[in-house]
């Protein structure tokens, strides 16, 4: 690493910038201070010239100028050329830094950050854990600090408690791949300490990545105006010291409360394990068939090129989850991935599908209606 970058990368907040705690913070700050010192130089130069000239050449009314020189080619070349060269350098540094931000390494931990009015939600690809941002809880803590109900220690303790089951958690020193999405309007995923930002655009996915350099808790803001709750839509990023610590947290965050009814846990599975992105629960046709009224209905499918039909019972559903390419629902693309659910998760999901209505037929199976 460039020694200057190393000096700047000491993780203390400066007058201008927050503590640099990601792999991008050092280079971005270097670029920032390059532009900054160039700007300071020109600002001082221009201000000094203005001040000197307005003092030295101030004159009473009616005085005539001492010089009539109104052009100087060399000067024009100099003050066109120098800004041009400096601009090209700035462009180059910005380009270099930006391309690095756009080029994630292949072995990152994948997390989906979904924004909606006015909350964040984070899903972890490795075990499907689905963790909310809990903006409201953080706002409540903030309010209690301001009203004097909490000291800063109490607030920190309360935030730690909220963060056990909330916020964006990442391990230190490992590339993190974030996919950003939005459910309703524009939002923007912004972690100042990491110098990363990406708009969450409904109907599109955005990508960003980073490596966190230092364990700690940092702010995550929504940076794109999204209406009433825009300024309340913030949460925290927790950087864990080690991957093991992170995985321990993730396992707990991804675990189920087994005292809940089966169908309720099934709904959590539907969200956590990503079934939600292709299977609706209200009859809407997405990439896969809707789960509404699916259980017990007659299913038409293509099995290795041969059409067939079967009633969707427990066995049919389990088989479809474990071996999705065995029977591809008629009229749908063969795109379902193999999601390795546990036996319990399959049981809960099946109960959840049952709870969404049985034998209601519908467009999926016209024969049943006859």
């Amino acid at each position: 690493m460039n020694p200057l970058v190393a000096i700047l990368a000491q993780s203390k907040p400066s007058f201008w910038l927050p503590a640099p705690v990601s792999n991008f913070a050092g280079p971005v700050d270097w670029d920032f201070y390059f532009v900054y010192w160039v700007s300071i130089f020109f600002l001082v130069l221009i201000t000094a010239l203005l001040a000197i000239f307005m003092w030295k050449y101030r004159a009473p009314k009616g005085a005539h100028a001492q010089s009539h020189n109104d052009h100087h080619l060399l000067l024009e070349v100099v003050w066109t050329g120098i800004p041009l060269i400096l601009s090209l350098m700035m462009f180059w540094y910005g380009y270099r830094g930006y391309v690095a931000m756009q080029t994630p390494p292949a072995d990152g931990i994948s997390i989906v950050a979904e924004a909606q009015k006015w909350a964040w939600n984070f899903s972890y690809a490795s075990n499907g854990a689905n963790v909310p941002g809990m903006s409201d809880d953080f706002n409540a803590v903030r309010a209690k600090v301001r009203s004097g109900e909490f000291t800063s220690e109490q607030a920190a303790a309360e935030e730690d408690k909220i963060l056990e089951k909330a916020g964006l958690h990442v391990p230190m020193g490992v590339p993190i791949d974030i996919t950003v999405m939005a459910a309703d309007v524009l939002h923007s995923f912004y972690i100042p300490a990491f110098r990363v930002k990406k708009d969450c655009v409904p109907g599109r996915t955005g990508k960003l990545w980073f490596i966190a350099n230092e364990a700690g808790i940092y702010d995550l803001f929504c940076a794109e105006y999204c209406g009433q709750g825009h300024s309340w839509m913030h949460t925290k990023v927790v950087v864990h010291e080690t991957v093991e610590e992170f995985e321990k947290w993730l396992e707990i965050a991804g675990s189920y409360d087994e005292t809940l009814p089966f169908d309720e846990n099934g709904k959590i599975v539907w969200k956590r394990r990503g079934c939600i992105s292709c299977h609706s629960i209200d009859g809407t046709k997405k990439v896969g068939p809707s789960w509404k009224g699916l259980f017990g209905s007659m299913r038409k499918f293509i099995s290795i090129g041969t059409p067939g039909e079967l009633i969707a019972d427990e066995a049919y559903i389990e088989d479809s989850i474990r071996f999705p390419m065995n029977r591809v629902a008629d009229g749908y693309p063969p795109q379902m991935p193999v999601v390795k659910l546990t036996d319990k998760e399959i049981l809960w999901v099946t109960e959840y599908i049952k709870s969404l209505g049985q034998n209601s037929g519908g467009t999926e199976n016209p024969r049943k209606e006859n």
Binding site: Y57, G62, A65, Q66, M101, G203, A223
Partner: protein, 578 residues
Amino acid sequence: MSQPEMDAQSDAEIPSEPHVVAPEEHTGPSYLTVTKTIASWAFTLDHKRIGVMYLIGVLFMFLLGGVFALLLRTELFSPLALITPLFADTAEAQADLYNKWFTTHGAIMVFLVIIPGVPAALGNFVLPLLLGAKDVAFPRLNLGSFYLWVIGAIFFIYVLFSGGLDTGWTFYTPYSAESGTAVIPALVGVFILGFSSIFTGLNFIVTIHKMRPRGMTWFKMPLFLWATYSTAVMQVLATPVLGITLLLLILERTLGIGIFDPRNGGDPVLFQHFFWFYSHPAVYIMIVPPMGIVSELIAVHSHKRIFGYTYIAFSSVAIAIFSFLVWGHHMFISGQSTTMNIIFSGITFSVGIPSAIKVFNWIATMYKGAISLNTAMLYGLSFIFLFTIGGLTGLFCAVLSIDTHIHDTYFVVAHFHYVMMGSGLIAFIGGLHHWWPKITGKMFSEFLGRIACGLVFIGFNLTFIPQFVMGSLGMPRRYYTYADKFLGYHQLSTIGSYIMAVGFFLIAYYLIQSLASGKKAPRNPWGGNSLEWHTTSPPPLLNFHDVPDATDPYDFEHLEYNPSTGNYDTQELARASE
């Protein structure tokens, strides 16, 4: 033959002072006194009266937009609800109210104040005078532009009284497609204002092409004309794109046509492309005419020929051309492709170069000049300082890696206020002081003028420098409440805005006072030599008593100050009176 030699030769062919008789010797009604009925103002075709009406309208809207600015700065003095509870009960309604305030502030200041401010208000008054013409090319169209502006303004006032607007002045979809506030009236208002702007631009293009006086070739025009010409081209080419975009947004809201709203298969980023294709050139519509004013202010009040005339003229044209090629830099983090971001970043730097050229040429103009530190000149100097900061901080935003961090933060807010207000509006106020004697025929208090300029300058910097710091520390923009660590910066900023407000009220006070009791303005109080200083203050209805020939606008050598009249006479006249 080299360019300067050619200039010198053609200079010799044009008499630098065409008047034998001093315009003061002509007496007769001015454009202000020639008729006195309300109808004679309402249906006037005189560009000066239309300019004055624009001026009154724009200044009123500036007051309105400023009140909203003060409201929101006051609210941000504390992260708790401070003054919104006076108007709304629930926390949700209070947040909504704040969102309406910043939206209204932005929309009024952009569409009703800064865009029409210099071209339509000052430009209307000054442009035909600079050309030695009786009026603009299409006086009726000019009046039409003004009434379109009035109708647009009425729509905005209707929006204020019908629940407000909370989309931000940018109308980003899909929020603007679903917001429950008065989006459609606001869009219609902006659409109409767009036509006002297009007609003014068209009028100015034709006027400058067809109505230059004998001897005024393109490169003998005052630089303000180059600036208004470049601006007019941008207005005519860019504004229709805004118009159609807003119409599509209206159709999106009413019919759900699915162009911008992803729920109907549309693309929100497409809206941003369309919007900024206009609104980036619009930034230059706001800044290039002020640059033209500053070129006049610096030269006239330094009593020295403008330095690097052709470079300043071409830099206006260059800015106008580049302005159409950089809109994508508003979308560096929107998810548009990496390649596009890189291209837009590269082109964006090209806008910095002509801006730098202008600044250095203005400073060189001052070198060995005879500088009168008049109020107008102080605004010119303030402009150079503030525009330097505005321009340099633009570099941070153009560098892709830095922009990723500072995009949508207060850093950007401070940056564009330095450009649009610190530069655009300050130059507008400077131009207002420069031409005030010509417009009203009255002199204002220079003493109060300098104090007010100082207050505005200090207040402005105190308002926006803390915003740079908190922005780069990570404070996102358009926040109704904020983390406690940003408290100190917000409070400094609010105090600054109050100081600035005091300055503006002081300006209003002494300008209004000058109308009632100001000294009568001489024909040429500052020693300018462009044609507007060759007619009486205020000018007669048809501007000039004799049709003037072109002068060299930057030749101040032959002007002699007459302390008894406060006028700068030509040497022939000075000799004659001895």
